[in-house]
């Protein structure tokens, strides 16, 4: 565990919190920073980092949860695939509970579809090899983080001529989403914490055009408390010094040029779609990946007839505004009432990386009384400190 403990050291955390407060004071205006990746959102909630920041520094949780941005129509298509005769439908666990128009994959599984949770796309290929008489489809989703593994799997399937294997490709790209957010009206943002693991693949160079064009700083950050605090500090420092640049906090993993074998695999196996539908954001140009014609044999969209119908989100669900950072989860009228992790209306409540699920789980607003939260935390801090000579 040494690999994480040093990034969670309470003394270091306290030190960075002090430095951030110092810069925030020098800046002397409210700033809004967006952490792009759902994994970063998860860390922020899990460790209660928001509560450690000065009041003038606001974190806005970005659209970087690949499960949350999956539109209902694509989930319906996934269920239609899973219900094909003889089908084994393999997916990452996160996607199981995402609601489509006809329920979730978990409900399809309960109705009899053979839906299996895998931990790697290669496991899905292994399923195809061990069940040569049955079609196997892997539900490919995620940003540039998971896409290379899927590309490598398709290459392996092509080498093995695994005719019963294909991929339902829903991979999306980070930079077009950032551009959309920056073009969108009504969103005040002072900078981005770039997604560390996506950037390990694509590098930091692709952000330069965004920074040049929109004049917002980007600091590519990691996923541990120290990573995020240091990234926030680096963004504030740029703002204090009036600079605007792409910087790399996560240099232990991220190189400016990215991971060239992974990028080569992406370029070989995928093409960029002209348009791709994002839940809540709408159709974004050149924001999603499709399987290239040379690998059409492994493209589930081409092999199977899919309903592919656009399907409206629940009218009370405001995932779209939440994904754009325009609305806080607890400001959604469905939050904690019609929409809970047990009965999610929108995907933000499903994935552990979704902002709504994170708020719900980690208690910012709480399930019962969103307005009770500030009072509760005030009470908690007034209580005598919890300590005992008995504690280990």
């Amino acid at each position: 565990m040494k690999f994480v403990t040093e990034f969670r050291d309470p003394a270091s955390v306290a030190g960075w919190v002090r430095e951030i407060a110092h810069l925030a004071q020098r800046l002397d205006r409210p700033v809004a920073l967006m952490e792009v990746c759902g994994g970063q959102t998860h860390t922020i909630f899990k460790h209660g980092l928001e509560a450690l920041l000065p009041e003038t520094v606001e974190l806005i949780h970005g659209p970087g949860c690949p499960v949350c941005i999956m539109p209902r129509g694509r989930i319906d298509d996934a269920i239609a695939l899973a219900e094909q005769p003889g089908m084994i439908f393999a997916t990452f666990g996160d996607a199981l509970r995402v609601p489509g128009a006809r329920g979730s994959l978990m409900q399809a599984k309960a109705r009899g579809a053979d839906v299996r949770v895998v931990y790697s796309p290669l496991d899905a290929l292994t399923l195809a090899q061990t069940h040569p008489d049955r079609p196997v489809v892997f539900f490919g989703l995620g940003f540039e983080t998971t896409a290379p593994a899927v590309a490598m799997t398709i290459l392996a399937a092509a080498r093995a001529q695994q005719a019963n294997f294909s991929v339902f490709c829903n991979h999306v790209l980070v930079v077009p989403a950032l551009e959309f957010l920056l073009q969108a009206s009504g969103l005040r943002l002072d900078g981005f914490i770039g997604p560390g693991h996506v950037s390990a693949v694509i590098g930091t160079d692709p952000y330069q055009a965004v920074v040049d064009r929109y004049q917002k700083p980007v600091v590519v950050g990691g996923f541990e408390p120290i990573d995020l605090l240091q990234s926030i500090w680096m963004l504030l420092l740029q703002l204090v010094e009036g600079r605007c640049a792409v910087e790399n906090q996560y240099h232990r993993l991220v190189k400016p040029e990215g991971n060239s074998p992974a990028l080569a695999a992406l370029a070989q196996v995928f093409t960029v779609r002209e348009q791709f539908e994002w839940r809540g954001l709408g159709s974004l140009p050149r924001s999603g990946l499709a399987i290239a014609p040379a690998f059409a044999a492994f493209d589930a969209e081409q092999r199977y007839c899919l309903p592919s119908q656009a399907s409206e989100d629940s009218p009370v669900c405001q995932c779209g505004l939440i994904l754009q950072g325009k609305l806080k989860p607890w400001e959604c009228s469905a939050f904690g009432r019609g929409c809970t992790p047990d009965h999610p209306l929108g995907a933000c409540m499903v994935s552990s990386e979704g902002a709504c699920a994170a708020y719900y789980k980690y208690g910012h607003g709480g399930p019962r009384s969103p307005m009770a939260a500030p009072r509760r935390f005030a009470e908690a801090s007034a209580r005598p400190p919890l300590q005992s000579e008995l504690a280990r």
Partner: protein
């Protein structure tokens, strides 16, 4: 066994045909002793042979040997120990059947023993019902029965009634077990989740998440290897020691499915109080912490099968902790937090950094995260 339809009403005089079946010592006991067939569930000779050969021989209990439809137990034995009969049941379906630190058999015994123990009862007698899938190796069943016998002896309980059913191949997963248990409690010492009060101390008997993580890794589809053993163990001695050290134990629970998080939330809701726990005080073994870290899971949500969560009045915390630490199963017992007055009733975790977050009920099975 209760499933056999032999009318007989005396423990002392077993039906004459039983003797015929009580010669299992001479039967072959190699791994090639065959497989469960539908005939083993038909109630005929095959059923009888299975019962006598596996269960009677393994459990060696007078009440079982009588092959009656129910066990009749001496009430005097109960009344000497207390004035409340505790009665519980639990069913066990685990994949894989064998895992580091236990198997479905030891789990079935300890699970019910612990359900009795945490209500302040001394467990005495158990029943066990088996649902067997056609095609299950009989050697496997024997191995599980032997594990149950060992666990029952360790916990000092007797298996006194049983039942066997067979379902066709594909309709079950080799073996499911239900155990019910009775024990004796005293009406002047009945802990329960509704008795918590502000100022109470929250104790854990050992590290969290061992069982759930061991099972997850034992399934083998994560391609992760770690030296993690299930904590499957009986807790009644620990519970008894705790009750002796602290006559006003507010509540006890063995934190099984849903983990410590589920227990604390249940306590908070039932008693309408808040539970405040300290992240730095929560015990987790390093390999469990590492496995959960890699998979994006929280040890607070992972299942345990031998972990006691106890709430005692604050002034008894030291005595209770010392009493627990005297026993091997409580050697690593520790204080993890306190009960506070609060509205709404929630479980609050104080992070190492001085911030707070709420620990919610776990949602379904823990699912590893995408990236």
């Amino acid at each position: 066994m209760a499933s056999s339809n032999h009318p007989s009403d005396s423990l002392a005089t077993p039906p004459s045909n039983v003797l015929e079946f009580q010669q299992p010592q001479h039967r072959t006991r190699s791994s090639d002793e065959g497989y469960i067939t539908l005939a083993h569930g038909s109630g005929g000779r095959a059923t009888h042979n299975l019962i006598t050969d596996i269960f009677l021989e393994t459990f060696r209990s007078d009440a079982l040997n009588a092959l009656d439809d129910s066990a009749r137990l001496d009430l005097a034995l109960f009344m000497a120990r207390g004035d409340r009969l505790a009665f519980t049941t639990d069913s066990f379906v685990v994949d894989p059947l064998f895992f580091p630190g236990g198997d479905i058999g030891s789990l079935a015994i300890n699970g019910t023993v612990n359900d009795l123990a945490v209500t302040g009862a001394q467990p005495l007698y158990l029943s066990c019902g088996f649902i067997l899938e056609e095609g299950t190796p009989i050697a496997l069943l024997r191995r599980i029965a032997q594990s149950m016998k060992l666990a029952a002896d360790t916990a000092r309980v007797k298996v006194v009634a049983g039942d066997t059913k067979v379902v066709p191949r594909g309709k079950g997963d080799q073996i499911y077990i239900n155990t019910a248990g009775v024990g004796v409690a005293r009406s002047n010492q009945v802990p329960g989740p509704r008795y918590l009060q502000p100022g109470d101390a929250i104790l854990l008997s050992g590290p969290m998440g061992d069982h759930g993580t061991a099972i997850l890794l034992a399934r083998g589809d994560l391609a992760l290897e770690a030296d993690i053993t299930s904590d499957c163990q009986p807790l009644h001695d620990l519970a008894a020691a705790l009750c002796e050290a602290c006559p006003t134990v507010r509540a006890m629970r063995d934190a099984t499915r849903g983990g410590v998080a589920a227990v604390l939330n249940e306590f908070a809701q039932t008693s309408r109080v808040s539970m405040v726990i300290e992240e730095a005080a929560l015990p987790v073994r390093p390999p469990v912490a590492a496995a959960c870290e890699v998979l994006g899971l929280d040890p607070l949500h992972m299942a345990n099968e031998g972990l006691l969560v106890a709430v005692v009045p604050g002034e008894f915390a030291a005595r209770a902790l010392m009493a627990m630490q005297m026993l091997p199963e409580g050697r690593e017992a520790c204080l993890v937090g306190h009960v506070t007055k609060a509205d709404p009733p929630v479980v609050i975790l104080q992070t190492r950094f001085g911030s707070e977050r709420i620990i919610e009920w776990p949602m379904g099975d823990p699912l590893p995260r995408i990236c």
